[in-house]
């Protein structure tokens, strides 16, 4: 099964806002660019597994709790 970027949704924006962080703040914490955070939040870019794990760990959840694959 192959999942495109549009088939993987995520709650990164909601969790970031809940923590009171800007995209730049989160980008700095994760050592990526602000554009990358924006692309992930808008489902235009699906992060690699290491980055997805880093994001999940940052928010204290599992990867599956923050990234949702739409299986049709």
């Amino acid at each position: 099964m192959t999942l495109g970027a549009s088939q993987v949704r995520n709650d990164v924006r909601e969790r970031r806002v809940a923590k009171g962080l800007s995209q730049a703040d989160l980008a700095q914490r994760l050592d990526v660019s602000r554009q990358t955070i924006n692309s992930i939040e808008t489902d235009r870019y699906t992060p690699s597994l290491p980055l997805a794990i880093a994001i999940a760990r940052f928010f204290g959840v599992t990867v599956e709790e923050i990234f949702h694959a739409d299986h049709n």
Binding site: L30, D31, V32, S33, R34, Q35, T36, S39, Y45, P47, S48, P50, L51, I53, A54, R57
Partner: protein, 131 residues
């Protein structure tokens, strides 16, 4: 956890390479008896390198390409490189066909196509072996 493919500050590498190529153009054109064009070529390359450094301050993408490269920028760079290669392959193939249609040997396009094809096959094999 490391999610950045390149974190070292190597942002000067591309501008320095640009200036070095400008110097190479200057030397080559001077040897060919056209030093004025050589100076002009060097000036263009210095200006290009300077523009890159200035753009790095304003553009996160340029900064990412030159210096602090994360996985998305790397993916963009990889795709752009692949599309560039496709464009070059198309030009080489068309130029080769036009040359042989004119009754010429096809050189140097035949050699460029050969190098490109061999490089692709070898790279696929190496990457396949690495998994």
């Amino acid at each position: 956890m490391q999610t950045t493919t390149k974190t070292s500050r190597k942002y000067l590498a591309t501008p320095i390479f640009g200036v070095a190529m400008g110097v190479a153009y200057l030397v080559a054109l001077s040897v060919a008896g056209q030093p004025v064009w050589g100076v002009l070529a060097l000036a263009v390359m210095v200006a290009f390198s300077g523009a890159l450094l200035l753009a790095r301050r304003r553009s996160e993408t340029v900064k990412g390409l030159l210096d602090h490269r994360d996985e998305r920028i790397s993916a963009i760079d990889l795709r752009a490189t692949a599309i560039t290669a496709l464009a070059l392959i198309a030009v080489i193939l068309v130029a080769f066909v036009v040359q042989i249609a004119r009754g010429q040997s096809g050189w140097p396009y035949s050699m460029l196509g050969f190098v490109g094809g061999v490089t692709y096959v070898v790279t696929v094999i190496c990457l396949r072996i690495r998994g």
